[in-house]
Amino acid sequence: MYEITEKKILNQDVEWMRIKAPFVAKNAKPGNFLIVRVDEFGERIPLTIVTHDEMSVTIIYQKLGYSTQLLSEKQAGDFLFDVVGPLGLPSHIRDVKTVLGIAGGVGAAPLFPQLKEYARRGVIVDLIIGGRTKDHLLLVDEYQEFCRNIYFATDDGSCGQKGFVTQVAEQLYQEHTYDLAIAIGPLIMMKNTVLLNKKYNVLTDVSLNPIMIDGTGMCGNCRVTINGKTKFACVDGPDFPAEGIDFDELMVRQNYYKEEENHICRLKLGARK
């Protein structure tokens, strides 16, 4: 059992937790993720390790469907049934001078450890952060500690530009050049960002979040096609250079269980409320 030692509500959809998991914490590197099971019947939920110290790790999760809502019912002092990790390959930190981070929604969480690592190595870091509303812009204070400029985009215009992160990026590319962009967010956002960046010749890394079960390369559920080759996101990624990723295929794969997910969410959480 793994104790939740601290919990914060970041906005109506997103929460933060610190979990005591020494073996996950000890070997964790930027880009690694973990898998949580809330209770003994729970689904295995993959979540990025946002920060870690000697004993514990922090996660940021969006209450999306059944399992993340179940997780959100847990409070500080409660225990999680399973936490395993660190999983995946650490982010490949490239030898560059300027980086643009592009975060969509809860993508700000997985982007954080990578971007911070670049900044720690003296790289100039700019960030575009997007969300539904002002309240949905995550980790802004934390990012402010090491980003040169932060630009905002919200769906409703409550902060920064009204619209998508890609629109902000396109404007930036008129004035700035970046050696690398790292885009993390919903698949459709990453896809469009990569298309845009191609136009402006900006190299892009992304972090993929396909459906996973074991997270150890055993099941093949997480596979993605990259340049015609199959990769397992849990062991070969989750970070990849964006070049050649078949995002359309991945989006269909990610939606395979939509019907079941909606069903269980209505059925179980609906009934309990």
Binding site: K26, L70, F81, D246, I264
Partner: protein, 458 residues
């Protein structure tokens, strides 16, 4: 002397292909006695040498004849701590039973069924073996809680070592848990037999991926384990490598079986992990994994489940009993068909295109090898489950560069020792996908080498 082998009662095929309860129901005491009476108690029993762990087969059968099942259990337990499991899943026809003298003229003794009977009796009666263990101080680590790891851990514990088993998943048992379905091997049986190892004092740790959560180097130098056994199995699924394989609706057997066996997707929504296969399901492959996938798909309600296999019926590598049960459960065998392409719409699979094969000259496995005919046939499908084999998971290797593996990722050993002194390995990770009992045999033997290693170093 009775010539007829005693049949084990089974659930009716029409009923069982809708439930996940065990198919084979096990002998009653009368049936066990009847079957035991067929054994000749050979002086030089051929069956014993054909069992990878050399169970004293005539010995335990004699105890059944004497109605002393407890003693029969003790006899088996000397060589095999998982009798209720092996009695169910061993490919007996190619091992013990395949060599039974009675098999020459009529039918071999049903050794597996008798072993299962004894194993089940022990579980039901809660028979425990009281062993005196003279404790040693040295710690040993076991990677993986499959049959190889369990067997190795028990053997080392009996020698007095402090044994820690590290398992990547959230449950123990390896393939016994996530691969082999309930209707063939109920999970309570796996848990109870693992409990035996726990009762010996073996410590099991879940959620520990060696190579990620902890490394071999840390185990040896930071946590001071004197020796390590790697029993991490062959968990990496092989792909067909044909166009369209990553469309939705196409599963590797590991994903499909893990969803159902480990995550209990058959109970969705009571269990939150779903599985979806539709009505027309193609299974690719002909081994145990393929049979398990096919029969599981049927139980989930698929109307038409068919097996695409590139050779003929005689070449199916699955256990004979599984093939027979699959046929009874209306699994359709479409033989001499080799998938060459998946055809879909908008990334959702709709059809599988197969080449029609014929059998040519024997290959190195001794079986006639399939040859393409350049004629093709296409089947409509809602989903496809690929079950064509597995190789070792590369996580450990990539975290431990000095660990030598062969071209197919299998760990190279000499006398069970790997290229790293003090680190041993056995089971599927060394042999490639094989059997439960071979993995256990390897785990047991490795334990002896580990003991030797530690004592020489002391």
């Amino acid at each position: 002397m009775r010539a007829d082998r005693t049949k084990m009662p089974v659930q009716d095929p029409e009923i069982r292909n809708c439930n996940f309860d065990e198919v084979a129901l096990g002998y009653t005491p009368e049936l066990a006695m009847l079957e035991a009476s067929r054994c000749l108690e050979c002086k030089n029993p051929r069956c014993v040498s054909a069992c990878p762990v050399n169970i004293d087969i005539p010995g335990f059968i004699k105890h059944i004849k004497d109605a002393n099942i407890e003693e029969a259990y003790h006899t088996i337990y000397q060589s095999n701590i998982l009798p209720a499991i092996c009695g169910r899943v061993c490919p007996q026809e190619t091992q013990c039973e395949g060599s039974c003298i009675l098999g020459i003229k009529s039918k071999s003794v049903a050794i597996g069924a008798l072993e299962r009977y004894v194993g089940d009796y022990a579980l039901k009666q809660n028979l425990s073996i009281q062993e005196e263990i003279s404790e040693k101080e040295e710690k040993v680590a076991i990677i993986g809680s499959g049959p190889a790891g369990i067997a190795c851990s028990a053997s080392l514990r009996r020698l007095g070592y402090q044994v820690d088993v590290f398992e990547a998943l959230h449950e123990f048992g390896g393939v016994l848990k996530y691969g082999i379905p309930d209707f063939r091997l109920p999970k309570e049986i796996v848990d109870k037999e693992i409990q035996n190892a726990k009762d010996l004092g073996v410590q099991f740790h879940k959620n520990m991926i060696v190579g990620k959560s902890i490394t071999i180097d840390q185990l040896l130098h930071e946590y001071h384990y004197k020796s390590i056994f790697i029993g991490s199995g062959a968990g990496l699924p092989k792909s067909l490598g044909i166009p369209g394989e990553n469309m939705t609706g196409i599963y590797f057997a590991n994903e499909f079986l893990t969803r159902v066996n480990l995550m209990k997707a058959n109970r969705f929504p009571a269990a939150p992990t779903p599985v979806r296969i539709g009505n027309n399901v193609a299974i690719v492959g002909g081994g145990n994994v393929a049979m398990d996938a096919a029969r599981t798909a049927k139980r989930l309600g698929a109307k038409n489940v068919f097996v695409l296999y590139r050779r003929d019926m005689t070449a199916l590598p699955a256990r004979q009993e599984e093939v027979e049960h699959a046929i009874e459960e209306q699994i359709d065998f479409r033989l001499l068909r080799n998938p060459v392409e998946f055809i879909g719409e908008n990334y959702v699979v709709k059809q599988v295109k197969c080449e029609v094969m014929i059998l040519g000259d024997p290959d190195e496995s001794g079986r006639r090898s399939p040859v393409g005919t350049n004629t093709f046939e296409t089947f409509d499908i809602d989903s496809c489950i690929i079950s064509i084999g597995q190789s070792p998971n590369p996580i450990l290797k990539s975290a431990t560069p000095e660990l030598e593996v062969d071209r197919r990722g299998r760990i190279i050993v000499s006398n069970h020792q790997t290229s790293i002194p003090g680190v041993f390995a056995g089971g599927d990770v060394v042999s490639g996908a094989a059997t439960v009992i071979l993995a256990m045999g390897a785990g047991k033997e490795a334990a002896i080498s580990m003991d030797q290693f530690i004592r020489e170093r002391a």
